[in-house]
Amino acid sequence: MIAALCFALLCALAGFLLWMASRRFAVKGNPLVDEIDAILPQTQCAQCNYPGCRPYAEALANGEAEINQCPPGGESGVRALAELLGREVIPLNVEHGEAKVPHLAIIDEAVCIGCTKCIQACPVDAILGAAKLMHTVIADECTGCELCLPPCPVDCIEMVPATGVQP
């Protein structure tokens, strides 16, 4: 009787400790999403049909998306994702665009009318300006996502190849 009581007490104690530990050391969110997000190029270009890299990472973690939907990541990105997720390496899906060298948006400041539409479209706040005043792109922050191109009413934004890293 005493033995059974002791055992029940121990069980209860262990259970309580485990419950505490699971509360204390709980992992917030899905750690796989973070790992996938780290591989993605963070251009936030939405070419994958998700509104950014993190949503795409979430979709991948839930098995809702294919690994070949990220053109800026290129073939190496697909390979890295395939390795992480244990999936087959497949070629990039051209429906989402083709892999190309990193680009940079440049605003033709003489043509810009200051409508602020591109500022609202930029996912990384890389465009500077105010209403009815000329806008300009912060070259260091631009990811080359091209999201500023469609909203521009005067087509004054151009994509140019970004110069590589200086040796």
């Binding site: 993605l40 251009t43 936030q44 990384v124 706040d125 922050e141 990811t143 110069t163 890293v165 040796p167």
Partner: protein, 495 residues
Amino acid sequence: MKETSVFSGGVRLEPNKVATQLPTPQLPPQPLYAVPLNTRGGQFAEPRVQVGDAVLGGQLIAGARSKVGAHSPVSGLVKSVQTENNKACIVIEADGLQQKIPARPPVHPASVSIDDLREAGLTGMGGAGFPTADKLQAAGLNKPKMLLINAVECEPLISCDAQLIAEDAKTILFGADWLRQFSGAYHCQIVLEDHSVDSHKILTTALSDSDFDAISISTVPTRYPAGSERQLVHAITGTALLPGERPLDKGVLVQNIGTVHALGHWAQDGTPLTKRLVTVAGNACPTPQTLWCPIGTPVAALVEYVGATEKNVDLFQGGPVMGQPLSDATAAVSKHMQCLRIEIEAKKPEAIACIRCGDCAEACPEHLLPQQLHWQLQGDNLPGAQAERLPDCILCGCCDLVCPSLIPLSKQFAAGKSALRLRQHTELRAAKAKTRFDARELRLEEKERERQERMKKRKAGTAKTDKQKAVAEAMARARAKRAEKAGTSKGDKDE
């Protein structure tokens, strides 16, 4: 002679130096000079002249203050200004008058700022071409105790330092003591290789004729790559630099002897860096020699001057170990070109697979394992190569020299290093973009929440007044009814 300890690894190479001649040969004046605007370390000097401007020899034509200056080597007219990224240059058409900017009296180290040195256009002349002003700026923060003047030309053939010592030891000593005072170092050591006996003699004589007490001369054994900054510091101080540690962290400032000479010249009369010694050699060069070349001299003029008439030659910038092929036949002499090699390349036998003999690991002066790096890079495994300390590779090429399978290891490592740098750069950018994206999301969310709250409040506000209105209306109706009741009780029934 003071005997010094040796660094680890390295290879013994025959010096095969080009004999010095006095007076130093001078290249005849050229009609055109293309002064390069790029310096190592990603700096680009902004042009300060326009096409058609007349310039004097030694006049500042680009850069200055925040960027290393570039100066016209001759008097003449600016013919074109090219700012294209990798071959930015200013082309000067010489007028043949050789007019120069006026000389100024000598300056004291205490009255000179870092920006003055930057404007003088000084860069490291040993081959790396690092801006001298940037190095001295870092030195100013580190307070070096010792100044090492690097006259160790460990690569075979290259003989700029020996030629310079033979011609102008006085200016070298003046520049060395000037730089010692400028940097605040207590002591200055000029380091030579032990085979350069003549240079040692000339310097010792010049030093005994002068009154520079803080300068001494020492030698290191002839062993490649003793002239590399890290190996030189190891040989002189007796302790190796840790990975990532710079000589300045040990209180040692290392400067090339050519840089010190140029600095001495500038301190004496304000002459900026517009010419350098270049050793022209190679198996297709009939008259190997070291000669003065204005910066911007077309390489073709050098080839013609030494009488190399062979048609199918390959041109290399730098010595036989670390030299790089000059891809551009229209290239010009830059501030860091110590050697021009004109070679007829013998067909090299094909490289075969690595047999993992480990000779490269023994030769590596940085204690790396080249065979492992090779293994990782063959599989494009950059993180693996980084774990094997790829960024610490100094690209000296010792592993190439000893490899029995003739694998071009250092070439692979150079490509791997730049790929790794590019990758780190991309990762950094991605992290930055992510933070900005997250911050924006947060801000938009906050805005949306505020908007919702405002809407709710407004709704609540209107609802309250509606209720009040309803109550007031009801009360008014009740009052009217009561009044009607009191007035006509009959009509109540009718209705």
